[in-house]
C-alpha cells in the first residue's frame, strides 16, 4: 500500500457530509444533554418513592450540580443491584467450623470415633483407622480410649484403655507408639488436668514386615530379612505427676509374642537367614511378665516445641519369661535432651543422648524381637528402620534448629550411635553416623509436620512424619 493511498483513505470527504450536518447537530445535542457515561448514571432501579418521583416527571434527568446529589444518585443506582454476600465453599465451611456448628478438623468425630491417619510402626506405611475416646464418664472418674488401624503394608493395631487416663479437657490423650519411638520416655502430658493416672491397657499388633538385619554393630545390609511379629499386652498403668517438671509412672502386666515368616516378598524371611543362636527367640516365644518404673524430669520451656531447658528420663524394667529359664532380663534406660538457645530464641542447638542396656540373667538371653534398635525417623535417620539391634544401645543426636519464620523451622542434624551384642561392650570409637537437613512446620506448642532428608554411608532417605524428632 502506497503512502498516497493511505492518505486518500484517511482523508474525510467533508463535501459528502454537508447534507447530514443538521442530523449531526441534533445527535450531538441529544448526546450532550444525556447524563455523562460512567459518572452520573441514572438510578438503575430506584426505590419505590424514587420510582414515583422519576415516573411522574417528564423532564430529562439533569446532571447533578452538587456532590451530595452526585453521591446520592450513585447510591440509588446501587439500590437496584443489591444482593446478599455469598461466601465461597471454603469460606462457608470455615465459618461453620469457627462458629462450632462444625467441629474443627482434628475434633471431627462420630459418636466418639475419630478418623485418623497415623504411622503404626516403623516401616508400616500410613495407617488408616479410628480412635475412640469417651472421657470423663461417671463424673470424670472413668475414661475410655481405644483405637483400630490398618496400614498400607498390612500392619494392624488395636488397643483399649479404661480408667483414669491423662488428658486435657475433651482432647484426645497423648500416646506413644511403641515401636516408633525408641523408648516411651518423655511422653507424659504435662498439661493434663489430673495429676493421677490409673488405667488398664490392652494392645494387639500384627506387624507382618518387620525388618531384621542381625544383631550387633556388624549386622550387614545384605542380610536384610523380614519377619512377622504379633504381640499382645495386658497392663496396668499408674502414675503421679508431682510437679510440672516431675512425674513417675509404673506399669506392669503380661506380654505375649508370636514370630512368623515375614511377608515382604522382596527380601528373604528372617527364618531363612538366621537361626536361634543368631536370633534368640526365633523358634520359641514365651509369654513375659514385666514391670517398668520410669521417672521423668522435664525442664523444657515448651515440651512439644522446646527452645530452652532440658529433660531427663530414667527407666528400669524387668522381663521374666513364663515357662522357661531362657529369657529373664532387666533393662535400664536413660534419655537426656538439652535445648540451648544460641544467642537468640530463633536459633536452638538441640542435643540428645540415649542409652539402653539390657542385662540378661546368667545363662539367659534377650529375645531379638525385644532388643532395642537404631534406625528410623527418630534415631538413625540415615539408616533403614531397625538397622542396628543389640542388647546395648547408645545414641547421640544433635540438631541445629533455626526458625526462618515462627511456624517454619529448618534443621541441620547429625546422628551417631552404635549397638553391642550380648557380652560385648559399646565401642564409642566406632560409631555409625548420618547427617541431614530438615524442614518442620509447627505451632507454638508442637511440630505437626516434619520432612527430613538424611544421608549415611549406606543410603539417603526422605522421611515425612507428623511429630518432632526428639
Amino acid at each position: 500500500m502506497t503512502r498516497n493511498t493511505v492518505k486518500k483513505r484517511q482523508r474525510i470527504r467533508w463535501d459528502l457530509l454537508r447534507p447530514a450536518r443538521p442530523l449531526a447537530m441534533i445527535l450531538s445535542l441529544a448526546f450532550i444533554s444525556a447524563p455523562a457515561i460512567g459518572q452520573e448514571k441514572p438510578p438503575a432501579s430506584p426505590p419505590e418513592e424514587e420510582q414515583k418521583t422519576v415516573a411522574s416527571t417528564t423532564e430529562p434527568i439533569k446532571k447533578p450540580q452538587s456532590r451530595h446529589e452526585h453521591w446520592r444518585r450513585q447510591r440509588l443506582g446501587k439500590m437496584g443491584r443489591l444482593e446478599p454476600y455469598q461466601p465461597g465453599f471454603v469460606e462457608r465451611n470455615l465459618v461453620m467450623m469457627e462458629k462450632s456448628e462444625r467441629p474443627g478438623f482434628m475434633d471431627l468425630n462420630f459418636w466418639g470415633f475419630y478418623p485418623r491417619i497415623q504411622i503404626i510402626s516403623r516401616g508400616s506405611g500410613l495407617g488408616f483407622g479410628t480412635r475412640f475416646w469417651k472421657p470423663d464418664i461417671k463424673g470424670g472418674r472413668l475414661d475410655v480410649h481405644g483405637s483400630a488401624f490398618y496400614s498400607t503394608r498390612g500392619y494392624e493395631f488395636y488397643d483399649l484403655q479404661i480408667g483414669k487416663i491423662p488428658h486435657r479437657g475433651k482432647q484426645l490423650p497423648l500416646r506413644s507408639w511403641k515401636g516408633d519411638d525408641v523408648y516411651e520416655l518423655g511422653d507424659i502430658d504435662r498439661s493434663a488436668f489430673s495429676r493421677f493416672k490409673l488405667y488398664a491397657s490392652f494392645r494387639y499388633r500384627h506387624l507382618p514386615q518387620e525388618d531384621f538385619f542381625g544383631l550387633g554393630p556388624q549386622a550387614r545390609l545384605q542380610d536384610h530379612s523380614s519377619f512377622l511379629l504379633q504381640d499382645a499386652s495386658y497392663e496396668i498403668v499408674a502414675g503421679y505427676q508431682f510437679s510440672p517438671s516431675m512425674a513417675l509412672t509404673l506399669s506392669g502386666g503380661l506380654l505375649q509374642f508370636s514370630i512368623g515368616r515375614g511377608e515382604n516378598e522382596d527380601i528373604p524371611t528372617t527364618q531363612e537367614l538366621f537361626d536361634e543362636p543368631t536370633a534368640p527367640g526365633l523358634t520359641r516365644q514365651p509369654d513375659f511378665t514385666h514391670f517398668t518404673s520410669q521417672l521423668l524430669f522435664d525442664f523444657r520451656d515448651e515440651p512439644g516445641n522446646p527452645h530452652r531447658g532440658a529433660m531427663f528420663a530414667v527407666a528400669f524394667s524387668r522381663f521374666d519369661d513364663r515357662g522357661s529359664e531362657e529369657f529373664h532380663f532387666h533393662r535400664f534406660a536413660f534419655d537426656a535432651r538439652g535445648f540451648l538457645p544460641l544467642g537468640s530464641h530463633q536459633r536452638v542447638l538441640a542435643l540428645r543422648a540415649l542409652t539402653i542396656v539390657d542385662e540378661a540373667a546368667s545363662g539367659n538371653r534377650v529375645p531379638f524381637y525385644l532388643q532395642e534398635s537404631l534406625g528410623g525417623s527418630h534415631t538413625f535417620r540415615g539408616f533403614d528402620s531397625f538397622r542396628f539391634r543389640g542388647e546395648k544401645v547408645i545414641l547421640f543426636q544433635a540438631e541445629y534448629r533455626w526458625e526462618a519464620a515462627p511456624a517454619l523451622e529448618l534443621v541441620l542434624f547429625s546422628d551417631a550411635g552404635t549397638v553391642a551384642d550380648a557380652g560385648s561392650r559399646l565401642e564409642l570409637s566406632n560409631l555409625e553416623a548420618d547427617y541431614g537437613f530438615g524442614f518442620r512446620l509447627k505451632t507454638f506448642r508442637s511440630t505437626f509436620f516434619r520432612l527430613d532428608l538424611a544421608r549415611s554411608r549406606e543410603i539417603t532417605r526422605t522421611l515425612i512424619r507428623f511429630s518432632t524428632s526428639f
Binding site: 442530523l23 448526546f31 446501587k78 462450632s100 537468640s344 530463633q346
Partner: protein, 568 residues
C-alpha cells in the same frame, strides 16, 4: 451527492459520540456544595442479611491472595471532600480531626452511662469459654446488656486497661466504637437465673421470659450454663486479692448486628456503601492510628456493622471493636515480639533467615521491654511508623498513600502530652510507673509518626482567607512541619492561576514569588476560581518542595477555600 450515505451516518454518529464523551469528561471539578462536610450515606435501606466472615479465610485470603495488590493501579482515596478531608459518615465522625477536643470529651470518649449497674447481680445470658478471650454476656438491673472480658492470670490490668485506653483514642480519632467500661465484679455478683437475686424493675416478667443461658462446651454441644462453667472461667482469669475481679464491660451496640466488614470492596447488600473500603481514607489512615497504638489486630473480624433505625428506614453503621490487642497487650497474654514488626507469614525475612542458616536474626527479637505486668510489650525506641505491620496484610493499609497518612498524622498531632496522659489515666493502672511508661511511650511514638509523615509531603495546612476581597484579601496557612519542629524555617514559593472549573484549565496570573511568612496576598481578579501553587523550600526537608495547590472559590464577596491538592 451522497455516494455513501451509510458510511456518512456512522461517521456522524461517531463524531457525535466523541463530542459527547469529551464533554462528559469535563465534569465540574468543584460542585456547588464543595467541600462536603457530611457524606449522605444514611439513605433508608431495607435491613441487609447478617454476614458471617471467617477469620481463617480472612487471614488466608489477605496473606496469599493478597487482595491489596491485585489491581495494579492504586487510586487516590475516593470518599474525601475537595479539601482532602473525610466527611462525617456512617463510618466516621470528625472529632479530633475537625477541632481539638477538650480533656473532658477525650476522657469521656464514647461513654453514655457510667458502666453496668452494680447495685444488683448481673444475669448471665451467654458464656464464651474458649476463643481468644473467655467472657460472659450479662444483663444488669437497668436491662443494659454488656459483654464481659477479663485480664490474663499473670497480667492484672493488661487487657482491661488497654481496652479502655485504646477505645478512647479510637473514638477521638473519629471511628464508631463501643462503650467499654472498666468495672469490678465478684464471683457472687453473677447469677444464671433471675431467681437467684434482685433483677430490677419488671422482675416477674423477666423471670417468666428468661431463658437460661446456654453454653457451647468443648464437644461443641449447646447446653445450659452451670455455676461450674462460671467457676471454670474464673479459674482461667486474673482475680484481685480482695475478691474483686477487674473486667471490661463492653456495652452492646445500638441496632441489629450485621456482621463484620471487609477491608476491600463494598457490601453488596448496602446501597449506601459505594466506595470500595480499600479506597476509604479513614480505613487507609487507620494504619497510622493502629501503628501508634500498636493495634496489630486491626482486621475484619474486629469490626461490626449494625443496622440502625426502624426496619426499612435504617442504615448500616460501621464500627471498630475489640481493642484488647493494642499497646503491649495481646488480649490473653502479653503482645508477641513479632506484633507490629512482621506479618504472621512474610517471605522476605523468612528467605533471609533460611538462606543464612539463621545467622541473620530479626532485629525485633532483641528489643528490650520494661518489666511491667500491666503493660506487656510496648515500646517507642525501636518503633518505625512506616514499617509497622498488622498481623497480616490489610488491603486498605496496603493502599495507604502519603495523602492518607498525612491526614491521619495530622490528627495524631492534635494529641498533646497532657491529653495523652489524661487518656492513659482512664485505664486506672494501679502501678504509677507503668502508667507513666505507657504515656511516655505513646508520646514518643506520636512524635515519630508526626516527624516521619510530615517529612514526606509538603505539610501546609489550615488554609484560611482573611481580609476583604478586592483590597486586602490574603491566604494564610500553617506549616505543620515547623510546628512539629522538623525545621527551623521555610521559604514559600507560590504562583497564582485562574482556574476554569469546567475545562480544568489554568491560566497564570504572574510569575513565581516567594515569601518567608505563611501569608500571601490574593490577586484582585474576577475569575470564578483561583488557584495558588505553593512549594516550601527548606534545606532540612527536601520533600517539602512538593507542591500544594489551593483552590479558592472567588465568585462571591466572601471567597472561600474550596479545594486542596497535594503532590505526594
Amino acid at each position: 451527492m451522497m455516494k455513501h450515505p451509510t458510511i456518512c451516518s456512522v461517521m456522524i454518529l461517531g463524531l457525535a459520540l466523541l463530542t459527547g464523551l469529551s464533554y462528559s469528561q469535563t465534569t465540574r471539578k468543584f460542585r456547588s456544595d464543595d467541600p462536603l462536610v457530611a457524606d449522605p450515606d444514611r439513605l433508608p435501606i431495607p435491613k441487609p442479611e447478617p454476614v458471617d466472615l471467617s477469620q481463617i479465610y480472612d487471614f488466608l485470603e489477605n496473606t496469599f491472595a493478597h487482595r491489596a495488590k491485585k489491581d495494579q493501579e492504586i487510586v487516590a482515596a475516593e470518599n474525601v471532600n475537595t479539601l482532602g478531608e473525610v466527611p462525617d459518615s456512617s463510618w466516621f465522625t470528625n472529632r479530633m480531626g475537625r477541632q481539638v477536643m477538650t480533656l473532658e470529651e477525650l476522657v469521656r470518649g464514647p461513654d453514655q452511662v457510667d458502666g453496668p449497674d452494680r447495685s444488683g447481680p448481673w444475669l448471665i445470658l451467654g458464656v464464651k469459654s474458649e476463643g481468644i478471650t473467655p467472657g460472659f454476656t450479662i444483663r444488669d438491673v437497668r436491662d443494659d446488656i454488656y459483654f464481659i472480658k477479663f485480664d490474663p492470670v499473670k497480667h492484672p490490668q493488661l487487657t482491661t486497661s488497654t481496652e479502655v485506653i485504646a477505645t478512647k483514642f479510637f473514638y477521638a480519632f473519629g471511628y464508631n466504637v463501643p462503650e467499654n467500661y472498666l468495672s469490678f465484679i465478684r464471683r457472687q455478683d453473677l447469677v444464671i437465673s433471675p431467681d437467684e437475686g434482685h433483677c430490677g424493675p419488671g422482675c416477674e416478667i423477666k423471670r417468666h421470659q428468661h431463658r437460661r443461658a446456654t453454653f457451647v462446651d468443648e464437644e461443641g454441644k449447646d447446653r445450659p450454663v452451670t455455676h461450674a462453667d462460671i467457676d471454670n472461667i474464673f479459674q482461667k482469669v486474673f482475680q484481685g486479692t480482695d475478691g474483686r475481679t477487674p473486667v471490661i464491660a463492653s456495652r452492646r451496640l445500638f441496632g441489629a448486628p450485621l456482621g463484620h466488614f471487609k477491608y476491600y470492596g463494598t457490601r453488596s447488600d448496602d446501597p449506601n456503601d459505594i466506595f470500595p473500603h480499600e479506597n476509604r481514607r479513614e480505613l487507609r489512615g487507620l494504619r497510622v492510628f493502629s501503628a501508634w497504638l500498636n493495634h496489630d489486630d486491626s482486621r475484619s473480624i474486629n469490626s461490626l456493622d449494625m443496622y440502625v433505625g426502624e426496619p426499612g428506614k435504617g442504615y448500616v453503621k460501621h464500627h471498630l471493636l475489640d481493642f484488647g490487642s493494642c499497646l503491649g497487650s495481646g488480649s490473653i497474654k502479653v503482645q508477641s515480639r513479632r506484633a507490629g514488626n512482621e506479618y504472621m507469614i512474610e517471605w522476605g525475612p523468612t528467605l533471609k533467615s533460611a538462606l543464612t542458616l539463621g545467622i541473620w536474626d530479626r532485629p525485633w527479637r532483641h528489643v528490650k521491654y520494661p518489666e511491667y505486668p500491666a503493660v506487656g510489650r510496648f515500646e517507642g525506641d525501636f518503633f518505625q511508623p512506616h514499617l509497622w505491620r498488622p498481623e497480616y496484610p490489610n488491603p486498605a493499609f496496603e493502599r495507604m498513600q502519603m495523602e492518607d497518612a498525612f491526614w491521619a498524622a495530622r490528627i495524631v498531632m492534635q494529641f498533646s502530652d497532657k491529653m495523652i496522659r489524661a487518656v492513659v489515666r482512664t485505664g486506672q493502672i494501679v502501678d504509677a510507673g507503668a502508667e507513666q511508661y505507657v504515656a511516655r511511650t505513646l508520646i514518643k511514638r506520636r512524635d515519630k509518626i508526626v516527624h516521619y509523615y510530615l517529612a514526606q509531603i509538603n505539610p501546609l495546612d489550615d488554609f484560611q482567607l482573611t481580609g476583604v476581597k478586592g483590597a486586602s484579601l490574603r491566604l494564610e496557612f500553617e506549616n505543620l512541619g515547623l510546628k512539629a519542629g522538623l525545621a527551623a524555617a521555610g521559604t514559600y514559593e507560590y504562583q497564582w492561576f485562574r482556574f476554569d472549573n469546567e475545562l480544568h484549565s489554568l491560566e497564570s496570573l504572574g510569575e513565581v514569588s516567594s515569601l518567608k511568612q505563611p501569608s500571601f496576598p490574593v490577586p484582585n481578579d474576577q475569575a470564578a476560581y483561583l488557584m495558588v501553587r505553593i512549594r516550601t523550600l527548606s534545606p532540612e526537608q527536601p520533600e517539602w518542595k512538593k507542591k500544594v495547590e489551593v483552590f479558592i472559590r472567588n465568585n462571591s464577596q466572601r471567597p472561600t477555600v474550596v479545594g486542596i491538592e497535594r503532590e505526594s
